[in-house]
């Protein structure tokens, strides 16, 4: 769920014709945020590279957030199911 949601989000932000080598840098958002690869020099090779880079960095963060939101929301459903199951519980009698 994490990977799929993130990948779909980031794929929608990348303009056609962007070199595959640059798009691959966004496959792993954690590396992007923590390791900070030399993105500026890589994106300087394409037209409007810096604007595209800023756009993609922001998009990667939002993509990761959306993916995590999906996971939390999935868990809301899980807890709702749990609540329904609890309705069928019988109170166990207390014994001395």
């Amino acid at each position: 769920m994490l990977l799929k949601t993130y990948s779909q989000h980031i794929a929608g932000l990348i303009p056609p014709g962007t070199p595959a080598g640059l798009t691959r840098l966004f496959d792993n958002p954690l590396q992007l945020f923590f390791a900070r690869p030399p993105l500026s020099s890589a994106f300087a090779q394409v037209t409007n590279g810096q604007v595209l880079l800023a756009h993609l960095l922001q998009g990667a963060r939002i993509g990761l957030m959306s993916a995590l939101h999906s996971i939390f929301l999935f868990n809301v459903g899980i807890m709702a199911l749990s609540l329904i199951l609890n309705l069928f519980l019988r109170d166990a009698t207390r014994h001395k």
Binding site: L2, I78, M79, R94
Partner: protein, 437 residues
């Protein structure tokens, strides 16, 4: 000074032979060992996002935790039963040794001379560590039952539960500090000295004994089919992110998993001492609570694994900052547990708290799913709300469980599970199974 020893005998009578001082020293060793095991899990919570980033493993993000839970779940009954055969002490020390070696392997992941990438090295190391963790957890609680009479066990089980609370309050911050100031590798290496000290204390203070029970059956077929069911399922769920449900490889894995699930159920139905006692499900409350523990396991995993990722990856927090936030969550868990237990004791209303807790948990999770890129004040409120609510219903469910399956009420644990009580192990087993998935 030599290692402590005692003649082989039934564990439940051992407490009569040991002085109060010997017992205190033995418990100290067990507490240190359990502290090492729980601290690792707590430390890994905040260290893992950086470790996975460093090892380029985003596509396999949950696997290090999953592999630990899977092997830990499987190791628990195996070590409990092996210790009945060969004695507790050496199995306990073996589990600790496996754990310490695995910590070193986790810290060295990516630099190990084996032909798999760094992320897979970490996954395998965490899986190996899970074996040690399963041994430690199972045998620590078994040893309490061996060393103390029933009237005193509650006090020592409470002490061990406090170890969990302390570890999960302090551990994430420790892991965060080590990650920020040293490296994620030191989040694992840092626990090694504690492990070595714990092993020394156990070696010198824990008596060597074994219960006197004639027959032991380990459900190897159950273990094999459980692995066979879960591993292809987990692989399919992981790889579907990079392909589609219709892909031939994904389909093959799902079919294999379904076939092995059927085999697992068949094996468990016939096993003398099954991993999963299917006859439990004849009781409606047990069946419902098993499903509930399974569902709670999924939601707890979702928060424990992905909340630090949200803080570090989305909000840009340091590992130490996310550790502090997680400590609030851990404190709320403990508070919810205590409050839930107290309310239950006073009212005896299991069902009410289980329903209310699930409703609050769903609300808290919904708030988490609305968190934005900047941290507003209600972030921590959402987390506390979830934590307190979810765990508030844990004591009601657990107590209801143990009361429902008391002797004479539909199901009794096999006699040889006297030490490793399946009554308390089953709920955690369900949670672990869910977290593996």
């Amino acid at each position: 000074m030599g290692p402590a020893s005692a003649s082989p005998r039934i564990g439940s009578g051992l407490f009569a032979d040991l002085s109060r001082g010997q017992l205190t020293l033995a418990v100290t060793g067990m507490v240190l060992t359990l502290l090492m095991a729980t601290l690792d899990q707590a430390i890994a919570i905040t260290a893992m996002p950086r470790a996975i980033a460093g090892l380029n493993g985003f596509s396999r993000y949950p696997w290090p935790t999953t592999s630990l839970l899977l092997t830990s779940t499987l190791a628990m009954p195996v070590f409990a039963k092996l210790s009945d055969l060969y004695g507790r002490k050496w199995l306990y020390l073996s589990g600790s040794a496996i754990f310490v070696v695995s910590l070193l392997l986790c810290g060295a992941a990516g630099n190990l001379p084996i032909p798999v990438d760094g992320m897979n090295q970490l996954i395998f190391a965490r899986g190996f560590l899970g074996v040690g963790n399963g041994a430690i957890v199972a045998l620590t609680f078994t040893l309490v039952a061996d060393l103390f009479p029933p009237s005193e066990r509650g006090r020592y089980q409470g002490l061990l539960a406090a170890v969990y609370g302390a570890a999960f309050t302090v551990g994430p911050s420790l892991g965060g500090w080590a990650t920020d100031h040293l490296s994620w590798r030191w989040a694992f290496y840092g626990n090694v000295p504690l492990g070595l000290i714990a092993m020394l204390v156990v070696y010198f203070t824990l008596p060597d004994f074994r219960p006197r029970i004639a027959r032991r059956a380990i459900d190897w077929a159950g273990i094999a089919t459980l692995c066979g069911w879960l591993v292809p399922l987990l692989l399919a769920l992981t790889w579907v992110g990079q392909s589609a449900w219709q892909a031939a490889g994904i389909r093959a894995l799902l079919i294999a998993s379904a076939g092995l699930l059927a085999a697992f159920l068949l094996v468990e139905k016939r096993a003398v001492e099954p991993l999963l006692a299917l006859n439990l499900f004849r009781n409606r409350n047990i069946a419902l609570m098993s499903a509930n523990f399974f569902l709670m396991g999924i939601s707890l995993f979702g928060v424990a694994v992905y909340l630090p990722l949200f803080h570090q990856g989305v909000l840009g927090a340091s590992a130490a900052q996310s550790g502090v936030v997680f400590a609030q969550y851990a404190l709320a868990l403990m508070a919810g547990n205590v409050i839930g237990g107290q309310l239950l004791s006073r009212t005896g209303r299991y069902r009410l708290f289980a329903i209310g807790g699930a409703a609050l948990a769903a609300s808290g999770l919904f708030l988490l799913s609305r968190m934005q890129g900047a941290p507003p004040n209600w972030n921590s409120f959402a987390m506390r709300s979830f934590a307190a609510s979810d765990l508030e219903r844990l004591p009601p469910l657990t107590k209801s469980w143990s009361r429902t399956i008391r002797p004479g009420n539909n199901w009794e644990p096999p006699p040889d599970l006297r030490g490793f009580s399946i009554r308390s192990a089953e709920p955690s087993g369900w949670r672990s199974l869910a977290q593996c998935c």
